[in-house]
């Protein structure tokens, strides 16, 4: 029976300032919990990109919920059916709650293949078409602790027509109802939770309609889809999320898909989002960059501003935040440093001073620069370790800021005056 065993215990709710709390009784044993606002652990088939369990274990305080995606899993359905014990065991994971999403947020997929009855995912061998029946069959082999229901979210392109947006809302609701029906009849999915997916593109009325209707179904929480980085500017995103969360029950979690940039995370938390997917560190790693933005709120605010100026210097670039190309996720943000840059060739400092991750404790920027220039595999490993540590520490700081009424301080720290604009990978700004 779908429904909700997971419990969202909120300790603070401030309108327009976000919610703070704990998502409890997660997993089939009901023993796990996840602090919110928080993020899930993004993986490829249960593996954090580039990392074996040995290297992963150098990280502490990782989220207790692991995310896997059907885009990685669908092609292995037969294997999983024969294995019988679900993806958690297949991947050699223990003590984790498994969340299964449809798409991989790190890799936007081709559009134009969704129909009334199907959505498609892209595996290593090409496109795999999913009906609700196949989708649910997959969930039975994956055996997640919780999953998002099948959804049509192809509304993020510019110029998506109203008609198309309406269709995505209708289809997604229909898919949800079908999924729930199968779910309720499946003994294998006993104790597994389902999230409904809110669609509606950039159209306010459709967003409201989708939220209202989805909220009527017996789901454990809500995924907010079609709002990913690159689909719209943050102002619109905030407006839409605010409208959506008004229609959703307070006591159920809201998971925002496809948004991971620190500035966007902060804004979306203020708009009422509880959970995010942690694919951003992976994207930063893939472009050879290291997260370097500060989120230290323990400093004297005045001192903090001075330090900030020192760090950022006179960067000079004033690029728009708005016209981002969702296909070009390789564009660097102001939250990271590009280690391929010549300036790091003989920089013997750690990636981030004071960072306690394995990479910063053992290696220097010059070494990472060398690894990137020579195309060595270790670059990905070390960067992934650092970026993951940095990102999850940011979320910790976010929760702390909310608990202590320091969100504004955090925002100043993270965003500075620039507000987190994008820059070119070849940017040779004088900061750093």
């Amino acid at each position: 029976m779908a429904g909700s065993r997971m419990k969202l215990e909120l300790s603070r709710v401030v309108q327009g300032r976000g919610r703070l709390g704990v998502l409890k009784e997660l997993g089939k044993t009901g023993q796990c919990s996840l602090e919110v606002p928080g993020c899930l652990l993004h993986t490829h088939l249960g593996t954090v990109p580039h990392l074996t369990q040995e290297t992963l274990r150098t990280l502490s305080n990782l989220p207790s919920v692991t995310q896997v995606t059907l885009s990685n899993i669908a092609e292995h359905q037969e294997v999983l059916e024969e294995f019988k014990d679900g993806v958690t065991k297949f991947a050699g994971l223990h003590d984790t709650v498994l969340y299964c999403s449809l798409h991989d947020p790190a890799t936007p997929c081709p559009t134009g293949y969704t129909t009334n009855k199907t959505v498609s995912v892209w595996g290593s061998g090409g496109r795999i078409e999913l009906t609700v029946a196949k989708f649910m069959a997959l969930q039975k082999t994956v055996q997640p602790d919780w999953y998002q229901s099948m959804a049509d979210g192809e509304t993020w392109l510019n110029n998506t027509s109203r008609k198309r947006v309406r269709k995505s809302v209708d289809r997604t609701l229909a898919h949800l109802d079908e999924c729930l029906l199968v779910h309720q009849q499946s003994q294998e999915l006993e104790g597994v939770e389902v999230f409904g997916v809110v669609e509606g593109g950039d159209i306010l009325e459709e967003r409201v309609r989708s939220s209202r209707e989805t909220a009527k179904r017996p789901v454990a929480g809500f995924c907010l889809d079609g709002l990913q980085t690159g689909s719209m500017d943050q102002a619109l995103r905030t407006q839409l999320i605010t409208a959506v969360t008004k229609e959703l029950p307070e006591d159920k979690p809201r998971l925002l898909q496809g948004v991971g940039r620190p500035d966007e995370v902060l804004a979306c938390v203020e708009a009422g989002v509880d959970l995010f997917e942690s694919f951003f560190p992976f994207q930063v790693t893939e472009r050879g960059c290291a997260l370097s933005f500060s989120f230290d709120i323990s400093l004297d605010p005045e001192l903090a501003v001075l330090e900030l100026d020192e760090e950022r210097g006179t960067s000079g670039e004033t690029q728009q935040n708005g016209d981002l190309n969702p296909d070009d996720q390789s564009l660097m943000t102001s939250f990271e440093i590009n280690l391929k840059d010549q300036r790091y060739k003989d920089d013997f400092r750690p990636l981030v001073e004071g960072c306690v991750c394995y990479c910063c404790q053992n290696h220097q920027r010059a070494y990472l620069h060398h690894l990137l220039v020579t195309n060595e595999l270790l670059a990905g490993v070390l960067l992934m370790i650092h970026n993951t540590a940095h990102y999850h520490a940011f979320f910790s700081a976010l929760r702390e800021a909310l608990a202590n009424d320091k969100l504004d301080v955090l925002k100043t720290r993270v965003l500075g005056e620039s507000g987190g604009r994008q820059k070119d990978l070849t940017d040779t700004d004088k900061s750093e």
Binding site: L45, V48, A366, Y367
Partner: protein
């Protein structure tokens, strides 16, 4: 003269203690003391070409029990260059590896990788692949770079000739290598911290090898490598040159057979008297999904493993085998680079474990028995044993049933 010799021994950055000798074959088990830590031989040295072992952290490498690994002078000399590495406290500091490092001279890459302009008495002239500039790698330059790298063992620059070449060029190269050895010895600024090994050349010509051995063993170097082999020559010629070389190398100095890494080759060449080995094969083949096992190799990416829920080797103690199945690794190869790292860890574990077993059997006096068991495990039947291996082992009194 005697007192000077003992004095220099006390300051030596290398000491070799022969712990056990096989009474049947020429194998030895030794304790090799180097500046960063002790090394148990026979030893296989993984190759970390550009100051990294392909996706494995130094902690992982240490955890696998590796006591010495390789860096390449040619690659590192190009990028990031010796000056930068010196600023970083040598290659040890740069890659944060606390145990031993061996660097080759760059000579082999000259032949195998680069557009050779010319080999003269001066050195090897070549064109840099990065900026097209002409560079001269002389014995002095090679040693200078290796001094900056700060490796525990440095290799002389030798005049490298492919083992498939014959004729006067081989002889010329052998004699030049001797002269270059002397120049390398003279150029070494850190003889109290860095060990310079000579490299025996002479191709597949026993006479030339003997000349080289006679000459080079007269030089006061802490160790010898057997070079010019493992380059595509006939295995029958290969083993004969190895055994000839060990016959004429001093007992109390380590023997390093360059470029050897296949399991059979390792076991046989230990029997022929070699102590140290290096090869890119185990780590390179891992990235293609090829896992080394006692019965050969397992191509994880092949369809037959998609539903195989066993580990690669149920008896292997490495993290990969303790945590993951062939089926998972097979699937992971389609989505993430970590799959390669899992196999790399396994292959290094396999190589190091093999050498540990070899050493143990020498110490326990049952190396010939070990060899027989090893061969039986590796080859499904007696008629599949490689002929050269049977001959080589017979030459050191080991008959395989």
């Amino acid at each position: 003269l005697l007192s000077v010799k003992t004095e220099s021994k006390a300051l030596s950055p290398l000491a070799l203690r022969v712990v056990a000798e096989c009474p049947v074959t020429k194998a030895r088990a030794c304790d090799l003391t180097l500046p960063h830590c002790a090394v148990s031989t026979p030893v296989f040295m993984p190759v970390g070409t550009q100051g990294t072992l392909k996706g494995i952290t130094v902690d992982q490498l240490e955890g696998l029990g590796c006591q010495i690994c390789l860096g390449n002078t040619y690659h590192l000399g190009m990028r990031p260059g010796p000056d930068l590495i010196e600023k970083a406290n040598g290659l040890h500091g740069f890659m944060n590896w606390k145990r031993n490092l061996l660097t080759d001279s760059g000579g082999f890459q000259m032949v195998s990788l680069v557009e050779l302009s010319e080999v003269t008495e001066e050195g090897v002239k070549f064109k840099s692949p990065y900026d097209g500039k002409e560079i001269l790698l002389s014995p002095e330059k090679s040693i200078s770079i290796q001094n900056s790298l700060g490796s525990d063992i440095m290799m002389q620059l030798d005049d490298v000739v492919s083992s498939t070449v014959s004729g006067p060029r081989v002889e010329e190269a052998m004699h030049r290598s001797i002269r270059w050895l002397d120049r390398c010895i003279a150029a070494n600024k850190n003889s109290d911290k860095q060990n310079l090994f000579a490299i025996i050349q002479g191709g597949l010509n026993a006479e030339l090898r003997k000349v080289c051995l006679d000459e080079m063993t007269q030089r006061d170097v802490p160790g010898f490598a057997i070079g010019g082999l493992s380059g595509g020559e006939e295995k029958n010629d290969f083993w004969r040159m190895v055994t000839l070389s060990t016959d004429h190398l001093p007992r109390e100095k380590p023997r390093y057979l360059m470029g050897v890494g296949y399991a059979v080759d390792l076991v046989v060449c230990v029997a022929l008297g070699c102590d140290m080995f290096d090869c890119v094969f185990p780590t390179r083949t891992a990235r293609f999904g090829s896992a080394l096992v006692p019965w050969g190799s397992l191509q994880v990416k092949q369809k037959q493993y998609a539903k195989d829920f066993q580990p690669i080797d149920p008896e292997c103690q490495c993290h990969t085998c303790k945590k993951h199945s062939r089926a998972y690794l097979h699937a992971l190869f389609k989505s993430d680079t970590a799959a390669m790292h899992h196999i790399t860890v396994h292959n290094i574990a396999y190589q190091l474990s093999l050498m540990r077993s070899v050493r143990r059997s020498i110490v326990e006096g049952c190396f010939p028995e070990f060899i027989r068991t090893f061969m039986k495990r590796l080859f499904p039947s007696r008629d599949l044993y490689p002929g050269w291996a049977v001959d080589a082992l017979a030459s050191v009194n080991v008959t395989l049933e």
